[in-house]
């Protein structure tokens, strides 16, 4: 139990950031009209591909002959890149459709 409290008090700044960003996320989205629900879901899905940075750091930190880490990390980069690039491209297509309609 004490260990958990130690960990939390060592990371007060991170926890503060966490709380502020949760509120920021709520505020940024709260007034979105219904027609934008699907494009926004798609766009924020692309942003969740930010996990790619973790995969890049993992591969950079892997030893040159640690093929398990290198292969799994690279597969992670491929998958997250598909999420980021595909997500933004498909959101763009969806929003283009909105422009033509109006």
């Amino acid at each position: 139990m004490l260990e958990i409290l130690d960990y939390l008090s060592d990371n007060v700044l991170t926890i503060n950031l966490w709380i502020i960003t949760i509120y920021l996320g709520f505020e940024v989205i709260s007034k979105v009209p219904t027609v934008l629900h699907t494009p926004l879901m798609s766009g924020s899905n692309a942003i969740s591909g930010i996990v790619i940075i973790g995969a890049i750091i993992l591969v950079r930190q892997s030893a040159n002959d640690d093929y398990v880490s290198l292969v799994i990390g690279s597969v992670g980069i491929v998958l997250a890149t598909i999420n980021v690039v595909g997500g933004h491209a498909v959101t763009n297509r969806m929003l283009d459709m909105f422009k033509k309609k109006s």
Binding site: W18, T38, I50, I53, L79, V90, F98
Partner: protein, 275 residues
């Protein structure tokens, strides 16, 4: 190059502005591009950011980035307009899979000195990423008609017990400090199965809400992975998606006159409505 990691701040700002612009019709397309610029900048910074224990391995990274870019572009160009929601679900599953991939590697790097908080964070990233991964694949299958609705009276009880099993294994592993070598793999498998059984009983008509929820899960997994690597842009971007995705899920439920609990546990009428 020492100061390149300061550019992370700029990419965080771009992500926030992009998301804000995306939530109003006139500026949505521009918002998407701003967010994409933020992601691109963050990726470039991640490649040159001075980190401890840097081994290079740039060939691996660049090849992987190239493959992912080509596949992502081809997918997004080829898909029919009506099939976009299921493609989004598939993409979200890939993001979850990336969180799983990095956390399972990090889990095996833990030693005697690893703190209990670091362990708990990594295992939660593994669990939430795993649920987002298989859950999104099932949602993709349902929307594309490959997976039929299937519901049994016991599925909600089964899910509760299975969730307790997942969390119990994680707590045991975190507290026991890796006494059992194969337990991380068991946690991985149990989490993946939970994603599957969590989404399977939910009616096909509710899938957009579920995809939005799983998107929020991927964001949370990314944020937890951000703590593992003490990387602020991952942390902030992940939480931003996690919280805005949660609110978006609630808004989508409201638009359908449903409550989130109703969608997740009950699924009342959804199968009747689609039948």
């Amino acid at each position: 190059m020492q100061y390149i990691n300061l550019l992370y701040i700029l990419s965080t700002v771009l992500l926030i502005i992009g998301l804000r612009r995306m939530s109003s019709p006139a500026s949505a397309a521009k918002g998407n591009l701003i967010a994409a610029a933020g992601m691109g900048l963050a990726t470039i910074v991640a490649m040159f950011d001075p980190i401890a224990g840097d081994q290079g391995n740039y060939a691996w990274i660049i090849v992987a980035l190239a493959i992912g870019t080509v596949v992502g572009l081809v997918f997004s160009k080829k898909v029919a307009m009506t099939a976009i929601p299921e493609l989004v679900s598939l993409f979200n599953g890939f993001g979850g899979a990336c969180a799983v991939a990095i956390s399972i590697i990090e889990v095996y790097k833990f030693g005697e000195t690893s703190s209990i908080g670091a362990r708990a964070t990594t295992y939660m990233a593994l669990f939430i990423g795993g649920v987002a991964f298989t859950g999104s694949l099932i949602a993709y299958g349902k929307l594309s008609g490959k997976v039929k609705d299937w519901k049994s009276g016991i599925s909600s009880y089964f899910n509760l017990i299975w969730l307790a099993l997942c969390l119990g294994l994680i707590i045991y592993e975190v507290v026991a400090m890796g006494q059992i070598e194969y337990l991380p793999m068991a946690i991985l498998v149990v989490s993946l199965i939970y994603g599957f059984t969590f989404v399977l009983p939910i009616g096909g008509a509710d899938m957009p809400v579920v995809i939005s929820l799983l998107n929020a899960f991927t964001g949370i997994a990314a944020a937890l992975a951000g703590i593992v690597y003490s990387n602020m842009v991952m942390l902030l971007g992940g939480i931003l998606v996690g919280s805005s995705g949660t609110i978006l899920t609630v808004l989508m439920c409201n638009a359908m006159n449903r409550s989130l609990i109703n969608v997740i546990i009950g699924g009342f009428g959804s199968s009747a409505a689609t039948a």
